[in-house]
C-alpha cells in the first residue's frame, strides 16, 4: 500500500515507466556489483550461499506479504507451498533431466493449484483461526511428502543437481517483486487491499471478496513454489524437515519485522533475518532469542513493522530512487 500511495507522485504513464526503468537500472547495477564480487573472489562461498538465500527469502517474504500484509489474510502455511514447489521441481530435474526453469514453472503451478484448492474453503475463516488452519495445512503437506517413498520419505530426496545460480535467483527475485508491485498497484491489488481494510465495505463496492482472497493466496502460493524450486536446487539433498511450521514462522518474522503491506519491508526483513541467521549460525539459541524479543517489542512499539502501511511514504521505500527520479526529471 505504501507503494500505492507513492504511485500518486508518478501516476502519469511516463512517470510510472520512468520509475520502473530506474528500479530496473538499480537492480542491474546491484546485480553487476554482486556478480563482480563473486568473480573477483571478494565474496566467499559462505556468503555467496547466503546472498542466494537472501534472494530466495525475499521471494518468500514478498509472496507471503501479498497474503498477510496486503490482503490481510493471516497465513502460517507458506513453508508447505514452498515444499510442494521444491519437491515437484526436483522430481523433474533429477528424475527426468528437465531444466531448472521447467521445475520452477511446474513447481509454482502445482503450489498455486494447491493454494487455490486449500484457499477456497479455508479463507472463509478469520484472523487467528485462519492462521492455525493454514499452519495445520502446511504441516499436512509436509507429512504427506514425508510418507511418499518416491521422493525419499523422511530421509529426503538426494542427488539434486546444483542448478540454482546467482543470476537465476536474482532475476527470479526481480520478476517476483515487479509482479507483486504491479499487482498491488492495479485494480486487482486495490481490491485485495480493500478486503483487508473492510470486508463489508469492499463487498458493497462490488468486490467479490472470496475471489480476491483466493487470488492473493494462489499468487502467493505460486511464488512460494517457485522459491521452493530455487531453494531445493541449492543443495544436494532436501528433506521434509526443512519445511516445518518453524520455516513458515521464519517467513512470518521477515514480513512482520519488515512491515506488513510493504514490499520494501519484505526485502529488508528477508535481508536482516537471513544475514542475522548466517552471522549467528554458531549460536542458534541466541539468534532465536533475538527474534523472539524483536517480535515482542515490535508489537509493543511498532506493530506495523519497520516499513509498513502509511509510514512508508515518510520512510520512502525507494527513497534513493525517488531522488534519482527527480534528477532524471530535471535532465
Amino acid at each position: 500500500m505504501g507503494e500505492l500511495l507513492q504511485m500518486k507522485k508518478y501516476n502519469s504513464k511516463s512517470a510510472m515507466q520512468k520509475f520502473d526503468f530506474l528500479l530496473l537500472a538499480c537492480s542491474v547495477v546491484l546485480f553487476a556489483a554482486i556478480q563482480a564480487g563473486f568473480s573477483m573472489d571478494l565474496i566467499g562461498s559462505f556468503w555467496k550461499l547466503n546472498i542466494i538465500l537472501i534472494c530466495i527469502n525475499i521471494i518468500m517474504s514478498a509472496s507471503l506479504n501479498l497474503i498477510n500484509g496486503y490482503t490481510g489474510q493471516f497465513s502460517l502455511g507458506h513453508a508447505g507451498f514452498m515444499a510442494v514447489g521444491a519437491y515437484v521441481s526436483v522430481i523433474l530435474t533429477t528424475n527426468f533431466g528437465a531444466p531448472l526453469i521447467a521445475g520452477m514453472v511446474l513447481g509454482g503451478a502445482c503450489a498455486a493449484f494447491l493454494g487455490c484448492l486449500i484457499g477456497l474453503p479455508t479463507l472463509r475463516l478469520n484472523g487467528d483461526y485462519l492462521a492455525i488452519a493454514t499452519l495445520g495445512l502446511g504441516e499436512i503437506i509436509r507429512i504427506v511428502i514425508m510418507n511418499i517413498e518416491y521422493v525419499g520419505g523422511a530421509a529426503g530426496f538426494t542427488g539434486i543437481p546444483h542448478l540454482t545460480t546467482f543470476p537465476w535467483v536474482f532475476v527470479t527475485m526481480i520478476v517476483t517483486l515487479f509482479f507483486i508491485k504491479n499487482f498491488v498497484n492495479s485494480t486487482h491489488g486495490r481490491a485485495c487491499i480493500a478486503v483487508r481494510e473492510n470486508e463489508i465495505a469492499a463487498a458493497a463496492m462490488g468486490i467479490n471478496i472470496t475471489r480476491y482472497k483466493v487470488m492473493a493466496f494462489t499468487i502467493g502460493a505460486a511464488f512460494a513454489g517457485i522459491g521452493g524450486a530455487l531453494f531445493a536446487h541449492c543443495f544436494y539433498i532436501i528433506n521434509p524437515s526443512s519445511f516445518t511450521f518453524m520455516q513458515s514462522f521464519n517467513f512470518l518474522i521477515m514480513v512482520v519485522m519488515g512491515g506488513l503491506g510493504s514490499l520494501t519491508g519484505s526485502i529488508a526483513g528477508a535481508f536482516v533475518v537471513t544475514a542475522l541467521s548466517a552471522a549467528l549460525a554458531s549460536w542458534p539459541e541466541f539468534r532465536m532469542i533475538i527474534y523472539a524479543l524483536a517480535l515482542i517489542f515490535l508489537m509493543f512499539y511498532r506493530p506495523q513493522g519497520l516499513f509498513g502501511y502509511v509510514e512508508l511514504t515518510a520512510y520512502a521505500p525507494f527513497n534513493k530512487l525517488k531522488f534519482l527520479n527527480k534528477e532524471g526529471g530535471q535532465k
Partner: protein, 295 residues
C-alpha cells in the same frame, strides 16, 4: 496380538496421551475464553513445567508429588509473568498483534530454556515405580494409572474452583463480558492473572506427567503438544471446559488408533485434519453452543 486386543491397548494409550492434551487444552481454552488469544506460548509453559519438575526431582531430591506441586506453583507464577509482561500491554491492540507476540513469547521460552539447559534431551528420572495392573491381555502401566489419577483430580479441582469459588464466578463473568464484569466491580486484571496461573499450573502438571511417561524432555517438546492441545480445545469447543477435557481425550485416542493401525507418521496429520474439518464444518466444536458455559 489380535485386532481387539490391539484396539483396546491403543485405547488405553490414547486415553493417557489424551489426558495430557486435555490438561494443556484446559489452559488454552480458559485463556482463549477470557482474552480471545491463541496463546502460542502455552505449549512452552508445559515444557517449562516439565523442566521444573525434572530439577525438583534430580536436584532437590523430592519425590513425584512434591515435584508436581512445586512445578505447578513455579510455572503458574511464570504464566502470570508472561501475561503481565507480554500480553497485558497489548490488551487493546489488534488480535493479530497479540498473536504475533504470543509466537514471539513461544520462541523466547523455547530458546531461552535451550540457552540454559542445552538442546540435548534429558532423561527424566524414573521417580514413579509401579507395576501397574494387567486386565487379561492388556496392560495399564503405573505411569498411565498416575496420569489418569492426577488428571481426574486436577479436573475435579478446576471444576470446583470455576463453579463454586468467588474467583471462579468472576472468571466466568469476565469471560462472558469483560466490560460489564468490570462495571460490576470485578478486577479483570486479577481474574486474567488467575486464569493464566491456573492454566499454566495445569500445563506444568501435564509436563511433569509426560516426563514420567516418556522419560525424556527437551526444550522444544512443547511445540507439537501445544498445537495439538489447541486442536483439542477447538474440537471440544473453544471456551468450554468440558469441551477441552473431551476434546483432549478424543484427540489422544484418535492419534493412538492412527499410530496403531495406519502409521505413526500420520499421527500429526490426523490431528491437523481434525482441526481443519472442525473449523470448516463445526467451528463451535462439540460443546461450544451458545448455551454452553464459558470460561
Amino acid at each position: 496380538m489380535d485386532f481387539a486386543t490391539l484396539f483396546v491397548q491403543q485405547l488405553i494409550n490414547g486415553v493417557s496421551l489424551g489426558s495430557i492434551y486435555a490438561l494443556i487444552a484446559l489452559g488454552y481454552t480458559m485463556i482463549y475464553g477470557i482474552i480471545k488469544l491463541i496463546n502460542f506460548a502455552h505449549g512452552d509453559i508445559y515444557m517449562v513445567g516439565a523442566y521444573v519438575g525434572f530439577f525438583a526431582i534430580t536436584m532437590m531430591r523430592t519425590s513425584v508429588f512434591p515435584a508436581l506441586i512445586i512445578s505447578m506453583i513455579i510455572t503458574g507464577i511464570l504464566g502470570i509473568l508472561v501475561e503481565r509482561f507480554a500480553y497485558k500491554p497489548l490488551r487493546h491492540a489488534p488480535r493479530l498483534s497479540v498473536l504475533i507476540t504470543a509466537i514471539g513469547m513461544s520462541f523466547f521460552l523455547e530458546y531461552g530454556m535451550m540457552y540454559f539447559v542445552s538442546p540435548t534431551p534429558r532423561t527424566f528420572p524414573a521417580a514413579f515405580e509401579s507395576s501397574g495392573i494387567s486386565l487379561g491381555s492388556f496392560v495399564v502401566n503405573g505411569q498411565q494409572l498416575l496420569i489418569f489419577a492426577i488428571t481426574i483430580i486436577l479436573m475435579a479441582l478446576l471444576t470446583y474452583i470455576v463453579q463454586k469459588t468467588k474467583i471462579g464466578k468472576a472468571m466466568r463473568a469476565v469471560s462472558f463480558d469483560t466490560e460489564t464484569a468490570q462495571l460490576m466491580g470485578i478486577d479483570a486484571n486479577r481474574v486474567i492473572s488467575v486464569t493464566f496461573a491456573l492454566g499454566s499450573a495445569l500445563a506444568a502438571a501435564a509436563g511433569v506427567l509426560v516426563g514420567i511417561y516418556y522419560n525424556s524432555i527437551d526444550p522444544l517438546m512443547g511445540m507439537m503438544p501445544g498445537i495439538k492441545a489447541f486442536v483439542a480445545a477447538v474440537l471440544g469447543g473453544i471456551g468450554s471446559l468440558p469441551g477441552a477435557m473431551t476434546g483432549g481425550i478424543i484427540l489422544g485416542v484418535i492419534e493412538a488408533l492412527v499410530s496403531g493401525f495406519i502409521s505413526s507418521t500420520f499421527r500429526d496429520a490426523a490431528a491437523f485434519a481434525i482441526l481443519i474439518l472442525v473449523l470448516l464444518f463445526k467451528p463451535s466444536g462439540l460443546f461450544g453452543t451458545d448455551t454452553q458455559e464459558k470460561v
